[in-house]
Symmetry: C2
Subunit: 112 residues, 2 copies
Amino acid sequence: MLRARFNLWIEKDGEVVISFWRARLLRAIDRTGSITAAAAEMNVPYRRAWERLHEMESSLEYKLLETEVGGSSGGGAHLTPAGRALLEHFEAFAEGFDKQVEARFTQNFPDE
Amino acid sequence: MLRARFNLWIEKDGEVVISFWRARLLRAIDRTGSITAAAAEMNVPYRRAWERLHEMESSLEYKLLETEVGGSSGGGAHLTPAGRALLEHFEAFAEGFDKQVEARFTQNFPDE
């Protein structure tokens, strides 16, 4: 049985600045308030998550996260307004693409 | 400046059976009548092209190409009816997707 697959992402100067994976990472940070917790949810090492975030900020030339060090909660992270805007723009951009791809697939691969 | 990017492909049992790259390869074989000429057009070694074609046929469990060995033309390759159908279904499936992605991008990243 055949299945249609797709991917969508946004680049700046040839570097990925947001993708489905990176949007899920930002959303998980937003929900958990922690890069560590978000990385664990995504099943990647903290370092991998941190590197991707750093790459994104570096390409975009603005901060996606505010981080707090220490305190009783052991520090945390939350999205900056610009980080939230990027995430929401990407989510709106990607919204419903899966259904469009599926509809096109059904239409063009009628025997599947 | 941000740019939207996308990819589309078809899988069977988790293996890629056709993608933009593979569709271009089949189209080049169709036009040139030769895997060697098509691989040269795609700037890949013959072996890479042959391996991808072999993987596709192996996953699909049908032949995409008929190959002729020798003769005055030194052999050649052409698409089977099933190979042509797969290619045309994929091209129809993918047709216009670039414009849809671009329209959604413009709509959702208004400052770009």
